[in-house]
Structures are given as structure tokens and as C-alpha cells.
Amino acid sequence: MFDIERWQEIFDTIRKNKLRTFLTGLSVASGIFILVILLGFGQGMRNGIEQEFKQDASTSVWVWPGVTSKEYKGLNPGRRIQLANENFEKASAMFNKTIEYESARIYVGGVSVNYGKEALIYGVQGVGPDFQFIDNASMVEGRFINYQDEVSTGKVAIIGNKIKKDVFNEVDSPIGEFIDISGIPFKIIGVFKEMEEREEERIYIPITTAQRVFNGGDRINNMSYTLPPVENFDEAVAQSITFKNNLREYLQQAHTIAPDDTGAIEVWSALEEAKRYYGLTNNIKLFFWFVGICTIIAGVVGVSNIMLIVVKERTREIGIRKALGAKPWSIIAMILHESIFVTAISGFTGLIFSMALLELVGPHIEVDYVLNPSVNFNVAFSTVLVLILAGTLAGFVPAWRAAKVQVIESLRDE
């Protein structure tokens, strides 16, 4: 490999067979090019699906009460379950070791919202300070509800970015402006941003305020949690399933619900859902690899084919070399070395071009479920290594045939 003499030989032959070398290289380069673009789009789809899931914190768990469907301990089916502060507080106490963030939520109904003379048609929800992290909302301006607001039942409101754009486009900042909720002024203290615009059409107020001011009593509509992050994905899924089951068990007991009546308390875990989609993207990835491998095989067959022609073309030359004392191994090495060199150079060329294309075009692609197609450089690099290895294997048959060239026959005058 580091024999400088052989490199000189190879450069000589390549220089003197430019077109042939170029065409061989082109087939390999385009093979790698196609493979990398494919893998890039595979990654893009994965990114796109991941993006869909980033709306909520990845370890979030959500609880919705429903309607019982089974008779249990003398209670009739069809009973609507209503969660209360007590449920939320008890669950927090029971599971506080496994919970990262927690928030109850109440939907404030039957209120009118006004900004000056303008009536707004956005939903109002009472949430806790942690809700920002559970819903993965990021602050554009100001701050989210804090503990102090909650304790003091502060009349503050956080609005979505879309509301800011739609309603507050004439003021510099909505912070400090007041909106009326059923005649009560609420001061806007923050603007939040979500992945999806429709989730920005909300107004959040402290849950305590929502309950006290708008006759909520101690009722809550749902509860949401996040669990502490765990490095290992499977462990994280297991953790969230355990938590989900424990939580449901507690709520079923608290509300006298049959243990197998899953519709009465619905617990939804983002991780479990994500796992299904990850499974899907894994399958897609597998499929792209399969296509990629097929492309490589096509490339390898191409290289093998061309090298066979090369050997055929150079039969006489090989015969001469053997007559002059070239050992079989040196003939094999000469052909292999050339094929590996050409494969490597063109493989990297294809890689660089395809990665440049992904780099330039990728970020501008705006299609649902495809986001920033790109390839992990390691993946691309190992693909090239695989191609070189495969090229070696492909080149070996022609090289072997070259080594078996019979001097007498190859030099026979036509």
C-alpha cells in the first residue's frame, strides 16, 4: 500500500487511461451519491417525526378523566369522573420521587375575553408554573406563571405568540397590557411560543386564580407530568409505563373505578407513543439501508465488470509484465490497488458532492415529516469504507484472472 513505486505505476496507468478511469469512477461516485441522498432523506424523515413529538416534553404523561363503562362496587356505569385538587395533591405526594414537573389544568369556560373594545375568541386555561416545561412552551417575551402568582392568585395572563401577532400588532409589546376576562382585568406578563400555531391560541392564567375567580371550586380537568430524563430510551419507556400504571391505579381507587375500566381514566404517555413512531422510523431507516446496500451491490458489480474489461484489455500488457518477471501477486496487487484507489477517490467525491447538496438544499426543504435531511458523517464514512472493501472483493476476481494470464497465449501474434 505504501510502495511509492507502485503508486507511480498506478498514476502512470491512470494518466494514460483517463477516460476509462473517469467512467469507472463516475459509476462509483454516483452510487455513493444516491446512497447518501437516500440516507439523508431517511434521516430527514426521522427528524421530521421527532419534530412532531417535540411539541410536548418527551417524558410527559397526561391524565384525562372519562366516563366509566363498567359497574363496580354497586356503582353504575356511565358515571363521569371529575378530578379534584385533592387527587392532584395526593398523586404528587405519592409519586414525588419519580416526578420532574407537574401541573393540573382547568379549562375556563363561559367567559368572555376582551382587549379594549375587541372581543377575543381564545380559550383560557388555568395551569401551574411547571406547565411551561410539560408543554414545552418557550418564552418569547416576559415570563411564565410562577409560584408567587399561584399562591397569591395573581391576575396575570400569558398569551400565545399567535395572539400577540393577531391582536397586539399595533403595540410594541403586549407585556403590561391588560385583557378583560369576564370583566376582570388580567395583566399580560409573558408571551409563549409552541411548535404548532394552534397551540399558541391560548391564554394561560394561574390555576388557583381560575378556580377561585371563575367558580372552579376544587375541580381540575386534567393533570400532566414529566418524568426525570433517563439516558437509555428503553429504561425511560419502562419508567413512564410504571408511573402511568401506578397513577392510574391510585386514581381508580380514589374514584372507585373497576381496575379494568381503562376508559374512565385515560393516561397517555408521550414516550410510549414515541416508541411506536421510533419503531416506524427505524423500519424506514432499515428500508433505506436495504436500498442503499442494493445500490452498493450495483456499484460493486459495475466496478467488477469494468475491472474485468480492464484486465481483458490489458491481457497483453500483463503477459509482457509476467515475461519480464512480474510475480502473480504483484499483478493482483497492481489491479487491486488501482481499483481500490479509483473506488476510494470517486467514493469520496460522490460523498462530498452529496453532502454538499444536503448541506445546501437540506435546510430549505419544507415538507411535512421531512426536516433538514442530513447524514451522520460516520454513517457516510463507513459507507465509503464498505464500498472500498466491496470494491476490493469485486476487484479480486478480475485480478485473479489477470494473475492467471498465460504469457504464451497473451503474447501470441494475432
Binding site: E5, D12, K16, E317, K322, A323, G325, K327, I408
Partner: protein, 233 residues
């Protein structure tokens, strides 16, 4: 230098076996210039292939410079070819994308001579055949006689024990043929052993000994008065 005893060789042609060499006994001393003559089918090419270790004999002994040549692996044969033998072919067999100099340097490459030394040595041999000014020309830019002189320089560059020439003048007109023979005679004068396969009488008479092959046996083996090719050039 070369000792051959009772050499037999036959080729399988379907179900028939063609007996080409039927017991050749033949010795070449150091510094001889031998012409091997015979019509086509006489077995002279087969004999040359066996002498050149490009083909193996069925039976018999072949000793080259005291080394028995028998059951060689391809690698070993290649090594001996490189060390002991230089080939000159009828159709020159130069590598067409390499310059004259590179062609001459090629056997030295297989002897693992460093590049610089290789170039110098090749240039020296090109000079000896009078083609120094053409060193960087491709074979396609040379005349037939020049090509054969490059081929001879290439064969000599490896400093072989024996030079094997297979119809070296077969593709050349008579004037050029004599030039090439003149060169071969000069190389022989320097003490090199040379075997020339030819079917041309005048070429054969420019050697020092003629071996006549017919139907696989030596029918005549005589020393002759050498005709110097120089007088025709």
C-alpha cells in the same frame, strides 16, 4: 549455461495427444550465439517456451546456470525469469503507454531497483542501442527497428544470463533486420549467451551455431562461420 536432457512435451488436443518435442538433448555454453531453426510445427516455439520457463516439460531435465528448472511455482518461475532470462519477441511487445525509457526500466522495477537507479540504468542501455535521444518517445512514435532495439535494451537491462529472441527480425525489412542482428552480435561479443529462433537462413547464418529442429527432434546441430551483419548496414 543451458543443459537439456531427453526433453519431451506433448499437448492434448481433445482425445488426441500431440507429441511436439520427442526427446531433445542440447547444451549451450556460456557466450554462445545459437540459432534455432525449423519450419512451423517443428517444435521450436515450444522449446523456446520451455527454455523461457513459460511452459513446463512433461519429462526430461533442464538446467539453467546450474539451477534445475523443474516444478516451479508461478512465483518462483517469475523470479527466475526476471533473474536469468531476457526476452525479445517478434512483435516487440512494448507497453504502448510507457515511454521507451520506462519500458526498458520495467524489468528493473520487478527486481526492486530504486527508481532513480532504474532510470539511470535504463538510459545507459538505451544509449547502448543508440536510442538515447528517443528515451521519452512512446513506442507508437518509433519505427519497427527502433522498437525492436528498445525491446533488446529492455531484455538486457535486467542483465540476464541468457537472451531468448523469438523471431526478432520477423516483422522487419531486411535492412532493419541486419541492424538488429548487428546489435545482437555486438551484445554477444560482450560475452552474453543468446538464443535466436528464426526460420530465415541469412539470419541463422549470422549466429555461431545452428540447431535444426524437425518434427520434435534435433536433426542437425552444427557450428558455423559467423556472417557479420555489420557489413550490410
Amino acid at each position: 549455461m543451458i543443459e537439456i536432457k531427453d526433453l519431451h512435451k506433448s499437448y492434448k488436443m481433445g482425445s488426441n495427444s500431440l507429441h511436439v518435442l520427442k526427446g531433445i538433448n542440447f547444451t549451450v555454453e556460456d557466450g554462445e550465439l545459437v540459432a534455432i531453426m525449423g519450419s512451423s510445427g517443428s517444435g521450436k516455439s515450444t522449446l523456446l517456451n520451455i527454455l523461457g520457463m513459460l511452459d513446463g516439460a512433461d519429462s526430461g531435465e533442464y538446467t539453467l546456470d546450474g539451477v534445475p528448472i523443474k516444478n516451479l511455482s508461478e512465483t518462483k518461475a517469475a523470479e527466475y525469469r526476471n533473474k536469468f532470462l531476457g526476452f525479445v519477441f517478434q512483435s516487440f511487445n512494448l507497453i504502448n503507454y510507457k515511454s521507451a525509457l520506462e519500458n526498458v526500466a520495467l524489468p528493473l522495477y520487478y527486481q526492486k531497483v530504486p527508481r532513480k537507479e532504474r532510470q539511470e540504468k535504463a538510459m545507459q542501455y538505451l544509449d547502448r542501442v543508440g536510442l538515447k535521444p528517443w528515451a521519452n518517445h512512446l513506442p507508437s512514435e518509433l519505427s519497427g527497428g527502433q522498437k525492436q532495439r528498445v525491446a533488446i535494451a529492455r531484455a538486457m537491462a535486467a542483465e540476464p544470463k541468457v537472451l531468448l529472441a523469438d523471431e526478432p527480425t520477423g516483422a522487419l525489412d531486411s535492412t532493419t533486420s541486419y541492424e538488429v542482428m548487428d546489435l545482437i552480435q555486438k551484445i554477444n561479443d560482450d560475452g552474453n549467451t543468446i538464443l535466436v529462433v528464426t526460420h530465415e537462413e541469412d539470419i541463422a547464418h549470422m549466429c555461431k551455431r545452428i540447431v535444426h529442429l524437425k518434427d520434435g527432434i534435433i536433426v542437425e546441430d552444427k557450428k558455423i562461420e559467423q556472417v557479420r551483419a555489420g557489413q550490410y548496414v
